[in-house]
Symmetry: C2
Subunit: 169 residues, 2 copies
């Protein structure tokens, strides 16, 4: 199921890219630079939009690497424009495309750590459920909420994207 959830993460990241279209359209209609969005935040002590996008991408990338034992490629976190943020999103989605289901075979039982945990560890199963999954959706939703709060017209269909539905029998 890890592999399936990463499929959903990729879909969610690509939906985020469509929100950038809406942000650019709104900025154009109001005659301001869409890159203003990269600097906005919901509270003065929260991270700004660009950082929310970067962390959403990194949370997906790092979780995939940690759960499969791969080395994570590093990104410089230098994006300041919507166009640069689009590239960041597409780069991580392309990277996630390189994983296959068998890569996650031992994911649940791997021992996961990160520098700020000072040697403490989590099982892959606990790390994914308690840390990676809620964090990913935290940052994706803050990207969405910053746009909505600042006039961009988005709705649930933009958030969820297309659903795999079957016609009535």
């Amino acid at each position: 199921m890890y592999y399936s959830i990463f499929g959903q993460f990729k879909k969610q990241l690509l939906q985020m890219d469509t929100w950038f279209d809406a942000a650019e359209a709104h900025a154009k209609a109001k005659s301001f630079s869409p890159d203003v969005y990269a600097t906005l935040r919901l509270a003065p002590d929260q991270l700004a939009f660009a950082r929310q996008v970067q962390i959403a991408c990194d949370t997906a990338k790092l979780a995939a690497c940690r759960l499969t034992g791969k080395e994570a490629p590093s990104q410089a976190d230098t994006e300041v424009t919507i166009e640069e943020l689009r590239v960041r999103v597409k780069t991580v989605v392309a990277y996630l495309d390189g994983f296959v289901a068998p890569d996650f075979a031992e994911a649940a039982t791997r021992s996961i750590t990160q520098p700020r945990w000072e040697g403490r560890t989590m099982t892959g199963a606990d790390y994914f459920l308690e840390h990676a999954l809620p964090n990913f959706y935290f940052h994706v939703n803050h990207v969405y909420a910053i746009l909505r709060h600042n006039g961009v017209s988005l709705g649930k269909k933009d958030y969820l994207g297309a659903l795999t539905q079957h016609a009535p029998a």
Copy 2:
């Protein structure tokens, strides 16, 4: 894994209850009624805080019912105070406590529908990944974001809650 994710949903709902503590403390310090929070929203065409809490609860409840073939108990959506919202959260967590892992044995292959889909269906696996999971985190994060935007002091530890970590070997 469905059962494990519902465990995470319960944890997340109980974390939300601790955010209400922080909201009440902030309201008390500023001498306003904490129930004002129930009416706040991030954009005029988004749902207000109380509705975000109700839908977070309902998304978890309805997903558990749909994936296990149970009838969902209905709630009246009449909460207007923080105390009433606390009861709503605790009621759904207690309800989810009644599920056991074997209830989800056929979750992935069930045929799921809801009235607004006009007869179209999704498999349980697709419904959970593409609809229930992102929707649950959407509403939980909007609850969090409305509080943060309106002065309540919360951080990532409040969002995630305690992590199942193991001491260094």
